[in-house]
Symmetry: C2
Subunit: 407 residues, 2 copies
């Protein structure tokens, strides 16, 4: 057991893990490019106040906080929306709007580690600031949909709702706005039995409320939210070829925070960790001194998407080098280095033996490194300029000039 181990609840990423992560990152960034979202970056830690301003003081319990040597209260970021809004307030107030921003970064939460939940995790997200409401919501939903499609996740389920539904149902039943927040968490957890009990205790008939919240379906459910603008959003999605979503009036994510459309994307095979994306419309910039700017955004759980891909047996690209160049003996090492350098300059990936191994051991190492072809350099090769090239898959050998390998 090594004397110092990685911190509890964190992960190391070995080469194969990292290749998969960079591959997925690239796929998601490619979607962002096509949708003309531009990436921003913020520090790994922020003043603790930034997050309590957005999420309330209770978030401190779930964060890594520390006092820096100047006595300032800092927190490792638990999410990236508040930092992005702060960046907007500090650096992008003068930029033409709407702004379409995206980010990719690690976030931190201090909680008991469990399957699929880590203390350091990654989010890929996007925010639109200052768009006309329905246009922004359409664009962000289309983007989230394409992120899932582009990453190759099978059968994601997008559910679209609106914070107005629950608020209106409760108001219509005589629960004033100030009393409503206590019911939100029950809806968010889909604890409809708990909700039924809590409503009954409050003297409210639960049936009309639950009959709406438990439904999933098409746009006919939107009749419950007059003036939500969701009709227009769904029309927009249809224009963009985005179908297959479900209208879900029972979404109650962060009702103290969202102001309009809310949505979630699940990958049902993932069990308790099935939600891979969540977002909606909100108004947050004014908290950071930037005036009122309507915003819509989402965050993708990068790690969960990877789990979904791995569980589905996704074909990740393999990363072995194109060539492994082996000198037969010490006299051929210089030539082997020349060949390796030429291959690399030509854009091919090439390895050479760095352990002064004999031919058979070097070929074994080439196989374990996943090389496609081995290039053997011996006395003959030095004389004729013809290299021996061995296909590591089939075992077949051929002779080739260096120029042919460079193509």
């Amino acid at each position: 057991m090594p004397p110092v181990q990685r911190p509890k609840g964190t992960r190391d990423f070995l080469p194969r893990d990292m290749e998969r992560r960079r591959w997925l990152e690239g796929r998601l960034r490619e979607v962002m490019r096509r949708f003309a979202f531009r990436e921003v970056g913020t520090p790994a830690f922020e003043h603790t106040e930034l997050f309590t301003l957005r999420s309330g003081p209770s978030i401190v319990e779930d964060m890594y906080t520390f006092t820096d040597k100047g006595g300032r209260e800092m927190a490792l970021r638990p999410e990236l929306t508040a930092p992005t809004m702060r960046l907007y307030a500090e650096g992008l107030l003068g930029a033409p709007r709407p702004l379409k921003l995206c980010y990719f970064g690690n976030c931190f939460r201090y909680e008991q580690p469990q399957k699929g939940r880590y203390r350091e995790f990654w989010q890929f997200g996007a925010e639109i600031l200052g768009a006309e409401r329905a246009s922004g919501e359409t664009e962000i939903l289309a983007l989230a949909h394409e992120c899932l499609r582009g990453s190759g996740v099978r059968d994601p389920v997008m559910r679209i709702g609106h914070v107005g539904v629950l608020k209106r149902l409760l108001s219509d039943s005589g629960v004033p706005p100030g009393e409503q927040p206590r019911f939100w968490p029950l809806v968010d957890k889909k604890d409809f039995e708990g909700l039924r009990a809590a409503l009954g205790e409050r003297g409210v008939d639960p049936d009309p409320i639950l009959s709406v919240l438990e439904r999933r379906g098409g746009r006919e459910l939107l009749e419950k939210v007059p003036g939500s603008g969701l009709e227009e959003v769904l029309d927009g999605l249809e224009s963009m070829g985005v179908t297959g979503y479900t209208v879900d009036p029972g979404i109650a994510r962060g009702l103290d925070y969202y102001t309009g459309m809310v949505f979630e994307i699940d990958v049902p095979g993932l069990g308790a960790e099935k939600q891979v994306c969540g977002g909606g419309s909100y108004s947050l910039a004014e908290l950071f001194g930037a005036g009122k700017v309507e915003s819509t955004g989402f965050a993708l759980g990068f790690d969960r998407i990877l789990v979904a891909l791995e569980a589905a047996g996704a074909a990740f690209p393999e990363a072995g080098p194109d060539f492994f160049v082996v000198p037969v003996g010490p006299a051929e090492r210089g030539e082997a280095r020349r060949v390796v350098a030429a291959l690399r300059r030509a854009g091919r990936s090439a390895e050479t033996d760095l352990a002064a191994r004999n031919l058979s051991k070097a070929l074994k190492h080439a196989a374990s490194a996943g090389a496609s072809e081995a290039v053997i350099i011996g006395e003959d090769e030095l004389g004729t300029g013809l290299l021996t090239v061995k296909n590591m898959g089939s075992g077949e050998q051929r002779k080739a000039r260096l120029e042919e390998l460079l193509k």
Copy 2:
């Protein structure tokens, strides 16, 4: 002034900054791919002990440290070599060696912010574990050289030395090994006047020592380090077409840590922050319980390389969208969305107006977003299927079918 600002000494990266950073990251990763180095990832924080084991207790002063809620002493990582060695000890002991690993990540130091020095900064680095000494050193020097070339930095100066030089010079002058470390920092800072004084105080004739340390030149300087193996390394570099380095016996970076070849790369135009890369051979794995494994590596100062590129007026790629699709009025919005979606599916980047602007304001926004072409969708276009395409550079307009734009 926003109520919460970014932490002192840290940076936000606006879209243009981020595009440049991702571009440079991609260039460096491409070099790593061609050299068949494979990336690993480690947590942003580690047990504090990991860094004091490598660097001694004094490093705590320069780190962001905190006690987590479980009472464990943690530190935001100040560098990535120790974490990479820990990862090796925990996860890669069984992997075939030599291992060629690379990393890219943010690091943290608590110090007074100043020009070009930030509390959060980025390192791109590489380590080879378990190679035959000279082969590994050759490979790592060739890789560092190509990283600078691949990133497009002008006129980098690579200086190669060996920790044996100074140690031998001091021993030959009668300074026993135990007494030598007090002279190292003076050499590292190239404070030759200070060194002269300190040696004189110690009763040592400074001239023979300084005459070697102050020289720069070719391989003839290696005569001072018999048995260093550097001759073979320089032969290897020549085979790989790497020239233009200088042999510098006066490199004294971390002499308590390095065990053989050491090197640095400067970009002279950067003044006090001119060193963009440093590395060498070391033996660290045994500290982490992984047995003795000879290693060679380096870290590139990612931020400084960017500063060098920006100072030299490097031509970074521009990131405006290929198309900005503008509906002339509300009736054409659906069609505009269809066109945008089709362009994006074809791999083109496309924007549309999200602010319900009129045509002239939307075209103005398209220009400020840096779009190459605007696609105007009006009543005519709906009828004929011919889109009006305006080149945003020249202002010229043409008619085109959607299929032509998809190519």
